[in-house]
């Protein structure tokens, strides 16, 4: 997903002379093709995230479209004030590309695990937040970033994930109905889409119940039109995210519900996410997701219980 994201930025740079890339001491060879073809628009700076965000703001003031790439926790934690003031307050078209959203960097420990980046970034006015689920989704969404007026945060979830959006037209601000169900749905973002699809298949196989999966590749602004339809029509919803539940994607759904009146709300909603603690485990991303109950078997059980509660 990361490779696709950066390659797509290079694609954009080929047709848009205003696209510039800024990295913060990334790995050797990153976007060498970009550097070779457009040396004036490629910047690999040091470990200086605060200055790099400000620098991207200055470049955007000069009508450039900077794409800034570093590890997600460094973008969202270390230079939060620069993101707030330099980018969001000035409403500048800078795209922040955060490597390792969620538990991608599981073995590197809590300093590198982005467990609350969605919560942090959601609070910022003018910011668009994109959390694709696979490389296909990523490519379509990154191609559209040049049409967005303000700053964007792209959460890169992991590499080599199963492609589930083939045949779908991803669009910034629009959720994708990956699997349809009128009554029961998982609402997902990032790679929880794949987990929920697997869970839906298991529920169908085991209990003969159709459960849908709706993938919110844009967390902010939410696709409120679709969301309203879902909340008005569906009986059971479970939101699933690779982020702490406090202030995350699920919270944003509940906040939206709170704007509707009681008669309109038909859905019973549960929210699932990472435990509210710094991880005391290393291992792999999958191991940590499982440790946090973010896996298909648990989702299957949870949804079935929610449906059963209603029946009995």
């Amino acid at each position: 997903m990361r490779k696709t994201c950066l390659e797509t930025v290079f694609e954009l740079a080929k047709t848009n002379k205003k696209v510039v890339f800024i990295g913060s001491d990334l790995g050797p060879g990153v976007l060498d093709n970009f550097k070779k073809k457009f040396p004036d628009r490629f910047f690999m700076e040091g470990v200086a995230e605060q200055a790099i965000i400000g620098m991207s703001a200055g470049l955007a003031m000069q009508k450039f479209r900077p794409y800034v790439n570093t590890i997600a926790t460094f973008i969202t934690r270390r230079c939060f004030e620069q993101v707030v003031i330099d980018l969001c307050l000035h409403n500048l078209p800078v795209t922040l590309i955060g490597n390792g959203g969620g538990m991608v960097y599981a073995p590197l420990g809590p300093t590198h695990q982005a467990i609350e980046d969605i919560s942090i970034m959601r609070t910022l006015p003018n910011l668009t937040i994109i959390s694709p689920c696979d490389a296909h989704d990523m490519k379509n969404l990154v191609l559209q970033t040049t049409k967005i007026k303000g700053p964007i945060y792209i959460r890169i979830a992991r590499g080599g994930e199963k492609v589930v959006t083939e045949g779908f037209k991803s669009k910034i601000g629009k959720a994708l109905v990956l699997k349809k169900s009128t009554k029961y749905n998982f609402l997902t973002t990032g790679i929880t889409a794949q987990i929920a699809l697997d869970a839906a298949s298991k529920i169908k196989k085991k209990y003969k119940i159709d459960v849908g999966v709706i993938h919110f590749s844009t967390i902010k602004p939410l696709d409120k039109v679709l969301l309203k339809k879902i909340i008005v029509n569906c009986k059971k919803l479970i939101t699933v995210e690779e982020n702490v539940v406090e202030g995350g994607f699920g919270s944003s759904i509940l906040e939206f519900c709170a704007t509707m009146n009681n008669q309109e709300r038909k859905s019973d909603i549960k929210i699932l996410g990472l435990k509210s603690s710094f991880s005391n485990k290393y291992g792999t991303q999958d191991q940590i997701l499982k440790y946090n109950n973010l896996q298909d078997d648990f989702l299957c059980k949870k949804m079935y219980k929610l449906i059963s509660d209603d029946k009995f």
């Binding site: 703001a57 200055g58 955007a60 003031m61 000069q62 450039f64």
Partner: protein, 276 residues
């Protein structure tokens, strides 16, 4: 030049007093503001706007304008004064400073006040933004210069030094830092709170072409800004200044860094100091 011994107490001329009177309109009108931090800046801004910068009050966004970012945003009353004086907005607005519906806040905002390039106030943001503007100008082959005025307390911030290293790496000769070195930060003397010395050597080691002058001396400021630079380095000018300059009771007095509520006696004293 032994700057410590140099006299900063030279009498202010008519124009410097006039610009200070405009700052007083903001201060007294809003009944608050960073007084000391604005008064140390007046001559720096005066020379830049009277003699150096290219700007277009009727078309503030003209692409060829020089960019000036007041990174020490709390000094904004001085910038408001000079911008009003140059016709970016009517002078009568000055007295609305800090009021509910005013365009003039306690820190400057780019989309509210004509002539303000960037919203500042949180410290350490101006140099990185200015660096990006200067880089952008280079790519766009634009000839304008980018000036960033920073406070001495402000450069306690690591982001300033990060930006300095990057500007130096890119040899940004169109990027100019001006340090308002009044030697008083919020709590007290900079040498006690967090000593910047040896500042000149520090800046040189970060890759700047460095000069230092008396920041209230009009002719020194003019001479510096008009001279041709020797190198392709970014520049840093240390301006030795006096906090609260022009008001004997406020000069180098940390209690005048920011003031709210002025007694009638204080208002009278303030006005008397700048009578011609």
């Amino acid at each position: 030049m032994n700057l410590e011994k140099q006299s900063y107490s030279a009498k202010l001329d008519k124009r410097s007093k006039y610009l200070r009177s405009l700052v007083l309109e903001c201060l007294i009108g809003g009944d608050r503001g960073h007084m000391g931090s604005a008064m140390s800046l007046i001559e720096i801004l005066r020379v830049l706007y009277d003699d150096i910068l290219n700007y277009y009050p009727k078309n503030p966004k003209n692409e060829d304008r020089d960019r000036l970012i007041l990174s020490k945003g709390h000094g904004c009353l001085a910038l408001y004064a000079i911008l009003a004086d140059k016709g970016f907005f009517p002078k009568k607005i000055l007295k609305t400073s800090s009021k509910f519906n005013s365009i003039l806040g306690g820190h400057p905002e780019f989309d509210k006040v004509p002539g303000i390039e960037a919203s500042t106030g949180a410290l350490g943001h101006g140099a990185p933004i200015g660096l990006g503007i200067a880089l952008g100008a280079r790519i766009n082959k634009k000839k304008f210069n980018t000036f960033v005025i920073v406070g001495d307390g402000e450069i306690n911030e690591g982001s300033f030094w990060e930006a300095s290293m990057i500007a130096s790496k890119h040899k940004l000769e169109n990027f100019h830092i001006i340090i308002d070195y009044n030697k008083i930060q919020s709590y007290g003397k900079t040498k006690d709170v967090l000593d910047l010395e040896p500042l000149k050597q520090k800046l040189q080691s970060f890759g700047y072409e460095v000069d230092e002058i008396n920041g209230h001396n009009i002719s020194q400021l003019k001479t510096y800004f008009k001279k041709n630079k020797k190198s392709k380095k970014p520049s840093a000018l240390i301006c030795h200044t006096i906090k609260g300059k022009g008001f004997y009771f406020a000069e180098q007095n940390p209690f005048w860094h920011h003031k709210n509520f002025f007694t009638d006696k204080e208002k009278k004293q303030l006005k008397e100091c700048i009578k011609n």
